[in-house]
């Protein structure tokens, strides 16, 4: 049995660890509120945007924007992967990557090239090591209040590649915030819009607040918008804004998920530390007791011998 002093050091270090995990837990608990508020605040915009986009899809426009046209044959696909910057948030990132890998392998088996745009330190680290994919752009350190400006650069790379015909499909992967206890890794088709809408119609994903959900692209109605100044300019602007809003919403959802996951992970770490401390204290007391008993019996034995 370990000596009393050794056990005591172990108890001390476990107590220190518990202090750290407790602190992290409380920090996340306070940040999660703000993250959730941010996420909720941007939802009306996403919802209104979704409505406008579904109207646009229904109008019978002569002008066909590349975002609205599904291309024949897929040679290259892009994934925008949103992860956290920091670790210690349970299996949040690992779950997302695990969800993504089979999809990426499937594309590769079909001879399709896969490009990845990584947002967040963890995704950058993961995809840098992964073989067979191209990491085309990265963004990280978005902070507690992610700014849209920080994302525009990486989005532009993915959208330009799509417009230039280098990518035939673009997907968005992030964690969806369901509640504090549950976060769901989700991969959605982002471009072209008919694919995104088709996926939603099949009911593969179901969060009602997700911007693309419920978007129906019933083509060819008998009316069209008055475009000012002209369809190309307006659609370019509106569709660009739409993609921005979807990706931004994804980042906010991921942020809320991060804090929720960290809070839960740190809570269970604290609980485990408490349990270990309890067990160690018990062992320590037993060892102390044993030492005392032994000492007494030695004294008694010595006295009897005299």
């Amino acid at each position: 049995m370990a000596s009393g002093r050794e056990i005591k050091t172990k108890i001390k270090s476990t107590q220190n660890m518990r202090k750290v995990t407790r602190a992290l837990e409380m920090v996340s608990a306070s940040k999660i509120r703000k993250a959730q508020d941010l996420m909720k605040a941007s939802r009306p915009y996403a919802r209104a945007m979704r409505k406008v986009i579904s109207h646009i899809a229904q109008a019978s426009t002569d002008f066909n924007h590349p975002f609205l046209v599904e291309r024949e044959g897929v040679a290259r696909v892009g994934y925008i992967v949103i992860s956290t910057d920091r670790g210690l948030c349970g299996g949040l990132n690992a779950n997302l990557f695990r969800r993504l890998l089979p999809a990426i392998r499937e594309w590769q088996d079909k001879g399709v090239q896969v490009d990845v745009v990584a947002v967040g330190q963890k995704a950058i680290q993961f995809f840098r090591r992964l073989k067979g994919i191209n990491l085309v752009a990265t963004a990280s350190n978005l902070g507690e209040r992610p700014k849209l400006e920080a994302l525009i650069g990486v989005m532009k790379i993915a959208l330009d590649a799509y417009m230039g015909g280098k990518l035939d499909r673009v997907f968005l992967a992030h964690n969806e915030f369901i509640n504090t206890m549950t976060q769901k890794p989700a991969v959605h088709a982002l471009l072209p819009l008919p694919v995104a809408a088709g996926e939603m119609a099949e009911g593969q994903t179901g969060s009602p607040d997700y911007p693309v959900a419920g978007l129906k692209l019933e083509q060819k109605h008998d009316w069209d918008y008055i475009y000012e100044p002209d369809p190309a300019t307006v659609l370019e602007h509106v569709l660009g804004r739409y993609i921005e809003s979807v990706v931004y919403q994804g980042v906010l959802e991921n942020l809320a998920s991060e804090h929720a996951a960290r809070m839960v992970a740190m809570k269970s770490a604290s609980d485990n530390a408490s349990k270990v401390i309890g067990e160690l204290t018990l062992i320590y007391n037993k060892a102390r007791q044993a030492a005392i008993t032994q000492e007494i019996s030695e004294i008694v034995g010595g006295a009897a011998a005299v």
């Binding site: 605040a41 915009y45 945007m49 406008v52 008055i226 475009y227 100044p229 509106v238």
Partner: protein
């Protein structure tokens, strides 16, 4: 047939206004637009400026947007603003200060990007001040 249309004004940060209205006036890219119920479907970009909403009871509410998208359906008007505020929430002192700063920046800088940035800021500040001016006028009446 209804005599009002539904108006939603949202910005990226919050929902600013939602309700029934008789008339919506906004500054489109091609000029000022007045939208009454049963307007033909229309979609356009908005310039920085004011958005006025005349409610069902004739009351006039004024808003300011920094730019965005206006979508019109016969019974629904949606304003997707980059940033928006109620005109009464605008801070005149802050707008004046922003205007001054942008003007100073314009005077001192030579880099093309910086000039464009300063011009955009100046335009924003000026439209804010104009919106406030309009608000003051309507309050006097």
């Amino acid at each position: 047939m209804s005599h009002t249309l539904r108006v939603d004004i949202v910005s990226a940060e919050a929902e600013i206004f939602s309700g029934e209205a008789q008339l919506v006036v906004a500054t489109g890219e091609m000029g000022e637009l007045g939208i009454a119920p049963r307007h033909a479907p229309l979609i356009t970009r908005l310039k920085a400026g004011h958005v006025d909403v005349v409610l069902g009871n004739g009351e006039r509410q004024q808003f300011w947007v920094s730019g965005g998208i206006l979508e019109v359906q016969p019974q629904v008007v949606t304003v997707l603003a980059d940033t928006a505020a109620r005109a009464s929430d605008l801070d005149e002192a802050a707008a004046q200060r922003a205007k001054q700063e942008a003007e100073d920046a314009l005077a001192n800088r030579t880099d093309a990007v910086e000039i464009a940035e300063a011009q955009a800021k100046l335009a924003e500040a000026i439209t804010q001040l104009q919106a406030l001016e309009r608000l003051r006028k309507t309050l006097k009446h």
